[in-house]
């Protein structure tokens, strides 16, 4: 990076609006940004903050109803807003390219990869088809795709998600652009695949000298990929600075609030609970005057913060390019060491409630292909769950962690009685429930085991009122029978999940995502269950909302001494809230133990890779990088030996390919399923290194 070089992109006082039948909606307000050659800029914010709009404005692709109201976007000295469609075309794809959130949707399903790649250089440069082909293959090799010729001849659906995203990245880089826009490029991918893509993106500017704008909601990813970061809230930038200064000394209350919402691997749910940001993101036409964050800010001062809109200003005594949009930042004293709120009391773990013993679940799939018909093997098994063993106790939170397709949701279905297991037993309070499907369970059994679902937009029936839906649960479970009593119980439940009582009459579409999840929690706890299964309850929510919902879930759990089975793919959330962790991969439990045991050696190699892949939004924490090769095998056709053998970075040899490893007991209830001897696993260094107080001081002196 050279400060004297001409900037690649300059956005100055940019205001972008959408024009709808409801009137003008300002999406982005007063946005300024400068990108220098080779620099990677991060834009971070929650959904609806306008970060993707910025990217689309730079591409000059805003649809019929969007437009730049004022300000300019200058790319290498040319004002993009004044260019004709033809001039734009010569810039798009050749000088500025874009990488998208969903790689599969971004590729044309009916054209082969070679056509889609080759047309980029063919459209922008006067070269032969052979040359275009050669370049495309070279680029596929550069983005670390094995067997590029085969990929060239494939259709998009024949590739895995990670491969598709690499193809899209290759497509973006083909004509050596000076600016690359990345809009949440890894959000749709699994964590271990994400790690590989993040590494590739990190290498791009080194290899190609491309400037990048990286848009994400994940502070950890921004930290790993970017040089400078812009924090956006409700259409405007509230703080900008270098990674180091902004992550170490966040000045804006919103930035600070974001950090307090993210569980760090150092944090513990009882000692330092998350502090959610109260309230909700204002809708664009409901923004308050003055500071947009005002109504949600703890440091809000009437008369000052709400008087007039104000500009970004340089942070006094901070790094030169650290700027903040806050009038009171000097008066706010953020104490870095204590991000959490007040400590909560630790729960005593009670008696065993749930025992899963050698539980297997196979699905039968009819193979309709001609070869199957000839060979007679018409029925194949999808081994969704293989020999699951674990126990859960009263008041305990057990997390089940794994990437998509690992069988965690299947397990939840079997537990709830929506599917019946193939072999093995599940005992709930001593009673074997594995063979009883939900229709045959008694009301008592049903109400004692309930579930919180993943998708907030799906969890409530849009046709019925909130009150009606909760009342139905109470009536069905026989909690109350009298109409008045039921109504009162619903009110109490609404109080419990901290929602206003008049939500009783509302329809789900009038609720925000977080509010819907709260209703989902109220519904699950309506019958005082002894076990609640939460299937990724916050993964679809923004961080500030997710923190509040997570805290609520745990508060209710504390009160009712409920056993919580928390299904998740996010290890940092899991570390934060669970007592015990079960790591699953391709239907197998590879490791299980307490949260501390899982996060410290000895690790299963897969756990090790998962830990390494977790983005951590703390610049002081260092990680050992482990990037897994290859794709997740299909559950239809799993490896013969250890399920992880195709991607394992510590693979021993043939034994891994051919034999299923046995469970090795490290300590009581800490089990690793691996061929590598425990002694060797114990010697592995920790993946995550959190500096202690003395190291931290040393570092600060060095800075």
């Amino acid at each position: 990076m050279n400060d004297n070089q001409e900037p690649v992109l300059v956005c100055k006082d940019l205001c972008i609006s959408y024009y709808t039948r409801a009137g003008e909606i300002p999406a982005v307000v007063d946005f300024s940004l400068t990108v220098k050659p080779g620099e990677t800029i991060g834009i971070v914010g929650e959904s609806g903050c306008g970060k993707s709009t910025v990217a689309m404005a730079i591409m000059q692709y805003m649809g019929a109803n969007g437009g730049i109201k004022s300000g300019g976007i200058t790319f290498k000295g040319r004002d993009l807003t004044t260019l004709s469609e033809d001039q734009l075309r010569s810039i798009r794809g050749s000088e500025i390219s874009m990488i998208y959130q969903e790689p599969f949707a971004s590729l044309n399903p009916s054209l082969k990869i070679d056509t889609q790649l080759m047309e980029v250089p063919l459209a922008h440069e006067n070269i032969s088809k052979d040359e275009a082909y050669r370049r495309s293959v070279k680029m596929l090799t550069d983005v670390k795709l094995p067997d590029p010729e085969r990929i060239m001849a494939s259709y998009p659906h024949q590739l895995s998600g990670g491969q598709q995203q690499r193809v899209v990245i290759a497509m973006g880089l083909l004509s050596k652009p000076s600016l690359l826009l990345l809009d949440e490029p890894t959000t749709a991918l699994d964590v271990t695949v994400e790690a590989g893509i993040v590494k590739l993106i990190g290498d791009i500017s080194k290899t190609f000298g491309t400037s990048q704008i990286y848009i994400s909601h994940n502070l950890g990813l921004i930290l790993e990929t970017c040089d400078r970061v812009f924090v956006m809230y409700s259409g405007e930038v509230v703080e900008e600075g270098t990674i180091n200064s902004l992550f170490t000394w966040p000045k804006h209350p919103y930035t600070h609030g974001l950090f307090s919402c993210i569980p760090l691997p150092t944090a513990d749910k009882n000692a330092a609970p998350l502090t959610p940001i109260r309230g909700q993101l204002p809708l664009p036409f409901e923004r308050p005057s003055g500071c947009y964050f005002g109504p949600r800010c703890d440091h809000f001062e009437r008369g000052l913060c709400d008087s007039a809109h104000f500009k970004m200003e340089n942070v006094d005594g901070g790094a030169p390019d650290h700027r903040v949009r806050c009038l009171r930042y000097k008066n706010i004293n953020h104490v870095k060491a204590q991000p959490g709120g007040t400590a909560k009391k630790t729960l005593k773990i009670g008696k065993s409630v749930l025992t899963v013993d050698r539980m297997k679940k196979y699905y039968e799939v009819k193979d309709t292909s001609l070869t199957a018909l000839i060979s007679g093997k018409r029925i194949r098994h999808v081994k969704a769950n293989e020999e699951l063993n674990f126990t859960a106790h009263e008041s305990e939170t057990v997390a089940i962690v794994g990437e998509s397709g690992c069988g965690k949701s299947t397990f939840a279905k079997v537990l709830m009685g929506l599917e019946t297991r193939t072999e093995g037993e599940i005992r709930h309070n001593g009673k074997n429930i594995s063979k009883i499907s939900v229709q045959d369970r008694s009301t008592k059994q049903i109400r004692s085991m309930q579930m919180v679902f993943q998708n907030p937009f799906d969890t409530l029936n849009p046709s019925h009122s909130i009150g009606g839906q909760i009342s139905r649960v109470l009536r069905k479970f026989g909690v109350e029978t009298d109409k008045k009593e039921i109504f009162d119980r619903v009110m109490t439940l609404l109080d419990t999940v901290k929602l206003p009582r008049d939500f009783y009459f509302r329809k789900p579409r009038q609720l925000s995502g977080g509010q819907k999840q709260r209703i989902g929690i109220a519904r699950a706890f309506a019958g005082n269950p002894s076990i609640v299964i939460a299937d990724e309850p916050v993964s679809a929510l923004d961080v500030s909302v997710a923190a509040a919902v997570t805290e609520l879930l745990m508060d209710i759990q504390r009160k009712h001494k409920t056993t919580l089975l928390f299904i998740s793919h996010d290890l940092s959330v899991v570390r934060y809230l669970s007592d015990r962790i079960v790591v699953m991969y391709l239907g197998h439990i590879l490791e299980r133990g307490t949260a501390n045991q899982i996060f410290a050696p000895p690790y299963h190699p897969y756990t090790e890779a998962l830990l390494s892949a977790v983005p951590i939004a703390d610049p002081e924490v260092t990680k050992r990088k482990i990037v897994l090769e290859g794709n997740l095998p299909s559950a239809m056709n799993p490896p013969k030996g250890c399920p992880f053998c195709t991607r394992c970075h510590r693979k021993l040899g043939d034994i891994c390919d051919n034999e299923l490893p046995a469970e090795q007991v490290v300590a009581d209830r800490h089990v690793i399923k691996c061929h590598i001897p425990l002694e060797a696993l114990k010697k592995v260094a920790p993946v995550i290194h959190v500096p202690d107080e003395s190291e931290r001081l040393q570092q600060q002196v060095a800075v």
């Binding site: 075309r89 798009r92 794809g93 050749s94 390219s97 009916s110 047309e119 459209a123 292909s369």
Partner: protein, 311 residues
């Protein structure tokens, strides 16, 4: 792929057998009224009916009769038409040819017209052209064929006196006589196909891969021709193939109205005159054509869509 083909053809045969059983039960057995009465009329005496039954083998067990009937059908012996006093085959084939000619011209106009209009309006959703085409499409599909036949006759035959009012082709084939029947069919159907094409095109145009193509810096023409059309025309292909099925209904009205000597008019005539053998043959032909075109549509869809073709 081959398996799918076999499956579709298998289903086609299955459907035809089931349909033949239903037809047989409906028309040839006492289920919905005595066939003898149906043929000979209400005033025939019992002896006459009994004689007719004996003559035509109606006193044999149902299963035997069905087997014979099916066997005859399979070998091309379609029976004798009561109304035309001759073998059904000889009556049917020229009529089928006439309808094929009418159908060909209808499709030759309707397909390009509706595809072009559909694609144009789908390209820019909400534009004036789009809204005009869309409302015009609703308007034309709202007028039943017999009504538009009346309107067009009033205009072109009685008003402007450009075209003949009947299409019986009494003095040999005359292209002029084909115009009105084809026009009525085209007008009624193009709106539907155009709307389907528009919906498909509009969906493709808002897809992310079109955004990718635009942001790659491809010329607009290339985005439309190479990226959009390819995906947008998969759905209309199926729709068009299924229109053959609809055409078989449409021709009945149009041929009846314009006295065109085609298959549809024949079928109607057969049913109004209780000409059982003729009705059966016509119905079977209709089903063969309909199921056949559906099979082609299914196979074509699979072939056009790489996501199904390679899995």
């Amino acid at each position: 792929m081959i398996l799918l083909l076999l499956k579709r053809i298998g289903f086609m045969l299955f459907t035809m057998v089931v349909v033949s059983i239903i037809l047989f039960l409906l028309l040839e057995t006492g289920l919905t009224g005595d066939p003898a009465t149906r043929v000979l009329g209400n005033f025939a005496s019992d002896e006459q009916k009994e004689m007719w039954r004996d003559q035509h083998g109606y006193n044999q067990p149902t299963v035997v009769r069905y087997a014979k009937w099916l066997g005859n059908f399979a070998t091309g012996n379609l029976g004798t038409s009561i109304r035309y006093k001759g073998p059904v085959k000889e009556v049917l084939l020229p009529r089928l040819w006439n309808t094929a000619v009418l159908g060909f011209w209808t499709f030759a106009i309707m397909i390009p017209l509706s595809l072009i209009l559909g694609v144009l309006s789908g390209m820019k959703e909400g534009s004036i052209l789009d809204r005009t085409i869309s409302v015009f499409g609703i308007l034309t599909t709202s007028v039943p064929e017999f009504a538009s036949a009346v309107f067009f006759s009033a205009l072109f035959v009685f008003g402007l006196k450009w075209l003949p009012g009947t299409s019986s082709m009494a003095g040999g084939f005359e292209f002029k006589q084909l115009i009105l029947p084809a026009l009525v069919l085209v007008v009624y159907d193009f709106g539907y196909v155009a709307r389907m094409t528009r919906a498909s095109m509009a969906e493709v145009m808002t897809s992310q891969y079109i955004r990718t193509a635009v942001l790659k810096g491809l010329p607009y023409k290339q985005v439309i021709l190479k990226h959009a059309l390819r995906n947008a025309l998969i759905a209309p292909f199926t729709v068009i193939m299924l229109q053959i099925n609809w055409l078989l209904s449409g021709v009945i009205v149009v041929e009846f109205f314009f006295a065109y000597k085609g298959f549809g008019a024949l079928l109607l005539e057969a049913s109004l005159n209780n000409d059982i053998a003729l009705l059966e043959a016509c119905a079977m032909v209709a089903v063969v054509v309909a199921v056949g075109s559906q099979t082609i549509a299914d196979i074509g869809y699979t072939f056009l869509n790489p996501r199904i073709r390679f899995t």
